[in-house]
Subunit: 208 residues, 2 copies
DNA sequence: TAGATTGTTAATCGATTAACAATC
DNA sequence: TAGATTGTTAATCGATTAACAATC
């Protein structure tokens, strides 16, 4: 944790984690950087460099213990704790996120949905109640919340972001295609479906 | 198009495109790399380098014409054509994608949904009919399809991928957290929500 | 011990930034 | 023309890969 680890390395951590989960499921209990390399398509050298950003998890002549390494990476990623989320915008994506039980299994719990459509207010989606967006500040005052998910239409995205930041939210998972402006101490993770689709269309144009 | 353009550059194209759309909406008709730099947070130097991968779009002493540049990037991205999609897996994410009209506006049209839940078969989601997954091959034989969207549960993802590749699909938009194996001539664009969420949890752990 | 494989340093490669001549 | 800003070459920075001594 001392010297800053590059974004590129961190982006690979979830992939390592996933691969180690698979290895564990296959009852493989040790693995070398070379075997991981074959499986994941990174070079063995890169894999060893990556792990050594965080300290030596392996043993010379042996490799890595799958369960141990998985546990380490899991902890690096901050999994194993539980996080409380709210989802703002109960449209298709918002509801999909609220419905998705896979996240809850890893400790990410959606505690409330917000929407400014009065017809949705007081309905529930898989047991999570939908509140009117007007109640956002009041809710956040009374309920400790780690992550705000922004799944409102893009015109509303910045305003909602300002409001949650104002209310003290420090982490945002943004599904709107806008680049959001936030105070320095707020971290954003963007999921930009348009960008992703445009990349695909670039490939279609340039690989055919 | 001659010398290979790096992935990093291509990933920025959609951002340029979006920014130029905004500038156009604000009725700004010219822009310098320096002004773009302030707006987007890339260096002016990088912006000029990026554009020059594709040829000179600017004019010395003047800058770039917003409408012209937007048109160029739009065309680089392969937008303005229309693409036909199918979505396999009519769960939350699948339905969200089928419902989302924003993509259709840019030429991406979902023509069918597939699911292996017999209760969903023959229902429609915003006018798109849901077919049983058994009919996948038959459908693809009779309907020219550019992109297959994989939004099935992860255990089914590889099998479905094999089937669509077998049926001749060359482009896949993958929403399952698995790394999919595909033939060399098939391109995949991954949207990995778990990875994205894990990144956020990494930030929570390491920035607090 | 001998073989295997790490941790780590050094070399390479590629991407970003800086600088500036060309030119509108 | 003078000022502005590009296109492009050169310098820098960072990330990936290669190499190998340390050691299990």
């Amino acid at each position: 944790m001392s010297k800053k680890v590059s974004e590129a390395v961190i982006r690979r951590l979830p992939k390592y984690y996933r691969c180690l989960c698979e290895l564990e499921a296959e009852k493989i209990d040790r693995v070398s950087s070379h075997k991981l390399s074959q499986r994941m398509g990174f070079t063995a050298s890169q894999i060893r460099q990556d792990f050594n950003c965080f300290g030596g998890f392996g043993q010379q002549g042996y490799g890595y213990n799958v369960t141990e390494l998985k546990k380490q990476i899991r902890s690096l990623l901050g999994l194993g704790t539980s996080y409380s989320l709210i989802v703002i915008g109960a449209g298709n994506i918002g509801q999909a996120l609220a419905n998705y039980s896979g996240f809850e299994r890893e400790g990410f719990k959606v505690n409330a949905l917000f929407d400014n459509n009065p017809h949705l207010a007081n309905h529930t989606v898989s047991g999570i109640k939908i509140l009117h967006t007007d109640q956002l500040e009041e809710y956040l005052q009374n309920n400790l919340t780690d992550i705000a998910v922004i799944s409102v239409p893009q015109q509303a995205a910045q305003e909602i972001t300002d409001r949650v930041c104002q209310a003290g939210i420090k982490f945002i998972w943004n599904f709107s295609p806008r680049e959001l402006k936030v105070p320095n101490d707020v971290a954003i993770e963007n999921v930009n479906l348009s960008d992703s689709l445009y990349m695909l269309s670039y490939k279609i144009k340039n690989e055919t």
